[in-house]
Every structure is written in structure tokens, then in C-alpha cells.
Amino acid sequence: MSRTHGNRVFRWGLLTIPPALFCGGLLLFTQLVFLQASFHADEGLGVMTSRFTWANYLEVWHDPDYLESLGLTLRLAGVVVGATLIMAWPAAYLLSRSSPRVAMVVVAAIIAASFVTLPIKTLGMVILFSADGPLMRLLQDLHLISARYRFVGSFFAVAVGYAHLAISFMVTMLFSVFQSIPRRLEEAAAIHGATRLRVLWRVVLPLSLPGTVSATLVLFNLLTGAFVSAALLGGGKVLTVSLLIQRSLILFNEYGMAATLAVVLLLIVLLVNIASVLLVARLTPASQVIA
């Protein structure tokens, strides 16, 4: 499309300036402040020393509690992502290949559920899984367990909480990915004699790979930073990095350490993002040729 007269054209670009200044300014300012705070040691009661130091980072590197928390966080995220992928992939595929009306209703219902604030859903889980709750009573009645098990406060509980968050996200993301693969391709493969399984393996899987990888890594980032589920279902025993950050800040007023942990979290997110971009770039060319 040709440009319109230069001297008369309305400079649309100018409109971007106020919002860009607001968002960009906030982004820059907040990131700088907390980045800077991470390089200051805490003296207690919310006071930080004024010298620049690597002490916080060294402490994170050497303190086994911090490292354990990091490991726990990554393990949680990894396990949940894996389990969610297995659960969501077939469901999303099936939905994408069913009638549009059915798919629309189901996906809309899933999205509606994902907009319910997390504490409410966690409340439901707490009620459901509590020691005197229906699940425990049921399991006991079926003689599957001998004594009531305290669900809240275990790795498993937090994982279920995470999974709940993750599965809505994953199903909707994968649904989009599968929708973008034309059914014609699968039909063409079937005409050539491929069984359902082979169609999935040789057509659907490769074409959906970039989108799946991308969604998986976004989910991983999401779970690494997840806070509410861990806080409410962890019972103070499952200490993810996000919980440590909150405690440092709210409980101990250690602004420096909280900032340091946040930087560590951010670095993980950044690394995963870079990996995502590289991986998706390597996986995409084939799918673009076909689609």
C-alpha cells in the first residue's frame, strides 16, 4: 500500500508515545530497582547496606536450602508439565477434530473456569482433599487407605494444584495448535493407506511440534513462578522459590535477598525463553513448507 502525502499524513506513531513511556518507564524503573536491590546485603528489619556486593548471590549458590528450593521448584514444574502434556494432548486433539459447536462450548467452559480466581479453586481443592473431606472418607470406605492422610502440605497436593492451573492452559493452547493443522492433510494421509496411529505419528505430531514446544515452555515458565497454589496447598512445607521470595519480603523484610531470588527466577525464565525461540525456529521450517 502506497504511503499517503508525507506532509499531511497524521503521525500515528505519536500515539504510541504516552503508553510506551508509561509501560516502558515502569518496566525499566521497576526492573532496575529490584535488580539493584539484589546486590545489597540485608542488615535486618528492612534495612540494606549501601555497598554493592555479590553476597546474596553467593549465599544462594552455597546455601543448600536455597538450592533445594530451586531444585524443588524445577522438579515440580517439570513433573507437572510432563503429566499435563500427556493429559492435555489427546483431549485437545480430539476437541479440534470434533464438530465446531461442541468444541466451542467445551473450550469456552474451560476458559470460563480458568478465569475463576485461584484461591476459590484452591478452596474447592482444600475442601475436597481435607483430612475429613469426601475423598479421604471415600478412600477409607473403599479400604484403600487405613488412616486419613493429610493431603494439604505435601508435594503431591501442590502438584495437583499446579496441574489444575496447567491443564486449562495446555488444552486451550494445544487446541489452537491443532486447529491450525488442516484436516485435509490427515485425510490425504488416510487416503494413502495410513492407519490412524500412523497419521498421528507422521502428520499431526511433526506439524504440531513447534506449537507444542512453545506452549510447553510457556507453561514451564508459568509454573516456575507460580505462587498461590504452593502457598495454599503446601502447608508451609513445600517451599518453592516463589514462596521463599514472599517470605523474605513479607516475613523477614530482607529486600536484598528477595530481589536476588527474583533475579534468579527471572534468569530461569529468560533461559527457557531463549531455548524456546531456538527450538521452535529449528522445528518450524518443515511445518511451514507443508502447511
Binding site: 500515539l15 504510541t16 521497576t30 475442601i127 527474583a262
Partner: protein
Amino acid sequence: MKIGAIAGVRARQNLGWVWVSLVIGFIYAPILVVIGASVDPGHYVMNRAYLQFPPQGFTLYWYFHVAPALWRSVLVSVELASAVTVGAVLLGVPAALGLLRGQFPGRNAVAALFRTPLQIPFIVTGVAFLQTFNTVAAASGIALQASFTGLCIAHLFVATPYVVGAAGSALARLSPRLDEAALSLGASRWRTFRRVTLPLITPAVFGGAMFAFLVSFTDVTIALFLTPEDGVTFPVWVYGSIQNDLETSMPAVSSMVFLASGLMIVLLQRLIGMETVLRGGGAKG
């Protein structure tokens, strides 16, 4: 096809739907539990409220006897989310217009800038904003860290990208010929914008605005760090209640909120279609 093969296909399809139902069931179980608990008369053990499921009776009592503090928190959340929505639209629509129709160097970088807030974990955003507000307070005496305004600013930060994305998508889909047609008919640039562009992007902007509303309304993580002194938001209230004292009217209020969110989603879908909703209003690009 042999009978056996057809039966095999049918069986596989049924199995598939069982799977989907399990997934839906898993997603909705906690919500249904909450709705179920909301009609339970409730019982107290040693003065501590217990919420239970399945309900031991049926009553709508709790729907009409909501703890005042809880109601207030819902109002605070609605007020906050509304302010954030208005702000996000005022910031996001011009931003999208500038990005889609402007020609300036670094346009891609600025577009990426608007997507960045969603890539930072909310916990990091919460910490960063709290510390920033503390610094500002120390330097200038303006206290933003436990204020409605401060929380509003932080929510604006993460909600605006949704409006930018939604408006941007809608603008990208408009044919440039429409503007040219309007100009050829004698309309000035402003009249063209008002009579042609704006009406055509309004549904999408509305959708983005709803996303912004929901993001602000449901946020816990950021709100926890920046809780205003004079008003706790609804999700933070529920959060605190779960950790301390369970409040019996909570499931009732939660059910009502869930219903309202559901209606919003249906409205969203009618306005901007499923595609755009799936793409997160266009924000995740």
C-alpha cells in the same frame, strides 16, 4: 470397512470422549465443590467454621448473609478492576493505533515492549513494584506501596498488553481501502477514524477490556504485595481466609463470582469470537 473395524473406530472415539470428560471433570471439580459447599448449612466445630462437601442439607442462607468484610472486598476488586480496565483501554488503544499505522524505526521493539509484562512472573512483578514504591516513598514521600493507586498502576502494567493485542489484531484485519473510501467521500482523518475505524474495532477492544478486567479481578500474587491499607481485594481475602479462618459465606460469594465470570466469557465469545479469546485477546501474539 469390516464391522469389527467400525466398532474399533467407535470404541476409540468413545474412549476419547471419556478422556475429555475426565479432563473437564478435573477442571470443574473444585468449582463444583465450592458451589456445593455454598448450599450447605455449615457447621461449627469448637467455634471454627468447617466447609464440607457433599452438602449435608440445602439452604440459600449463605447467599443472603455474606460477611460484610467479604462483600467489601468484592466491591474493592470491582472498583479496582474497573479502574484498571478504563486505564488499559486509554493506554492500549492509542498504542495499538500507533503501532499498526505508524511508521517509525524500532516499531517491532516497541511492540515487544508491550508484550513483555506478561512474560515476567507475577511474583517478580510484585516484588519489583513493591520495592520501587518503597524507593519512591523514601525519596519523595509519596506513598504508593499500600495504596489503591499503587496497586492500580501495577495492574495496569500487566493488563494493558491485552488491550494492545486485541486492538492490534482488529486493526490488522481492517482493509486500508476502507479508510481510503471514507477519505474519497470527503471525510477528514478524524471523521474517518470516528465513523469507520472506531466502530469496527470496538468489539475487539471490548474483548481486550474484559480480559484486562478479569486479569485485575482475579490477581492474587501482585495484590498480596501491594494490598491497600483501606481495602483488601476479593482474591486476597479468600487467600487469607483459607490460611487462617474459613468464612462460611465464602463459597456462596465465590459461586456468584464464578457465574458472573462465566457470563462475561459468553459475552466475550459473542463479541470477538472464539479464535481471539483463545489467543488471549491477541496479547500472547
